[in-house]
Symmetry: C2
Subunit: 292 residues, 2 copies
């Protein structure tokens, strides 16, 4: 097995190689003067299983493009099998045509991967309107969950906590994590006015006063949704407020926004490399790669 | 027929629509806050032939990516047929694995288009090691040539001219253009030390003294190759020196470099939109689109 990466996930790729006792050989990715992609494998992949480790951030378009070119090149060079480990899989939120003429980009992304890779392993993909990855993937597509690791982290680092899902979509994560450690979970109802303007109300209120509030979501993108929940928790007398996300995209001024909304700390897994990473997901991936 | 574009070739697309009396409806292309592509058709394409006009410059990776997503979306929306008009087709220079492990990106580009579009129309693609587009395309792939239009332009605007191909690859263009207007053509031999460092020597010298030298190439990228030829022509007493390219990529400081090498003017076709465009290729494309 050869572990490689186009560049976004070098740390996690290196960790996986070490744990699996596999060769780690990152790709050379560059541009010709005219802008055409230059891509090169730096070891012989002929006859080997190539594991391409790549999260679709911070440039999802380029990540997907690089992954397709890398996978096709691996096959062209005689690789036996190409497995994509995408700890964070992009485009999954575009699962519906919201307005006439729009691209359902999750379907196009899946078609490209179906045509180029043999197997996909991903962590907590954003399954909202799709119930399963099988709805768009023809190749084996393995969905792992970081919830047990997140629950373990919360148990170790917090006390007197309550888990909040900032909207119904995220409540599946909040509820599952809360169950693991036997604490209370609640959900906030979100009304989305636009991709950046969101308002929230708490449903089934639990006692927030003097509790450590942990707001859990699968994706922390601009931070809007969690910031609204944090303001509400603060009003209700929360002791400390934490934002915990599987995938810390943290785009635009997300960290600032969260801080201003009263969030005391942001915790993410290393699905997307970021200074806020506290929870290592490589044990999940190692297990999945060992199964084959 | 609906003519559309992802953005790089709006002028040529609009011209084509006018000449073909077809609807012109450019796509909306944007990014979500997390960087995922947003793409939208702004008219109903159901049951129609969609002609996507897109040159692979200045961002070939994003152009190819957008084209694939646009074509897949058109099909998803019920388009009868998707034809890609790529006046300039990128990646064609990567037609060989020069070093072990390298991606032959022309093959991957072709595979992506084979899977997403129904027909390709392009102008003077860089066919060097491939003899025909059929070597990589399974879909109908039509190669048009701007040579007759270029010959006509030279005849109209120059006198006492000699046509120079700066290397053997470009001599096919120089010779063909020269034949059209019955003037002399020669070739310079190029030695490539790296993608940016090139040296040239003239083979079969013709009289340059007091002649208008027109250096012709299919692609003017960094301008290195033509600059070397121009310096040589200047030494040999050329009256004026012109650089004429089908595809004016003109990357980095190409125009400056050409000026400093003694080039008096740069002329390109509008395959890639640029202020140096003097030769309109839309008549070729209109004819090809009418044939179906």
């Amino acid at each position: 097995m050869i572990i490689t990466t186009c560049g976004n996930s070098a740390q996690i790729a290196q960790k996986l190689a070490k744990k699996l006792n596999a060769k780690f050989s990152p790709l050379t990715i560059a541009s010709f003067p005219d802008g055409d992609l230059y891509l090169k494998f730096n070891c012989d992949v002929k006859g080997h299983e190539v594991v391409l480790v790549q999260s679709f951030q911070p440039h999802p378009d380029q990540s997907l493009f690089d992954v397709v070119f890398a996978a096709e090149t691996a096959k062209d060079l005689g690789a036996k099998k190409v497995t994509l480990v995408a700890p964070y899989l992009g485009y999954m939120r575009q699962d519906k045509r919201f307005n006439a003429g729009e691209c359902i980009s999750s379907r196009v992304m899946a078609k490209l991967l179906n045509n180029s890779i043999d197997k996909l392993i991903t962590i907590d993909p954003h399954l909202h309107r799709y119930k399963s990855l099988k709805e768009i993937f023809k190749i084996p597509a393995i969905k792992l969950s970081a919830n047990p690791l997140i629950a373990e982290y919360i148990k170790k680092h917090f006390s007197k906590e309550v888990i909040i899902g900032p909207d119904w979509e995220s409540f599946q994560w909040a509820e599952d994590i809360a169950k693991h450690i036997n604490v209370q979970a609640t959900v906030l109802k979100k009304t989305r006015f636009s991709s950046r303007h969101v308002e929230v109300k708490m449903i089934h209120p639990v006692i927030i006063q003097d509790r450590n509030v942990i707001i859990v979501d699968d994706i922390i993108s601009t931070g809007h949704t969690i910031a609204e929940a944090a303001k509400d928790a603060k009003k209700k007398g929360a002791k400390n407020i934490y934002a915990l996300g599987v995938h810390g995209l943290l785009v635009e001024n997300a960290l600032d926004k969260l801080r201003k909304a009263g969030v005391n700390g942001v915790v993410t897994t290393n699905c997307i490399e970021h200074p806020s990473n506290r929870i290592d997901v490589t044990p999940l991936i190692v297990e999945a790669l060992k199964k084959r």
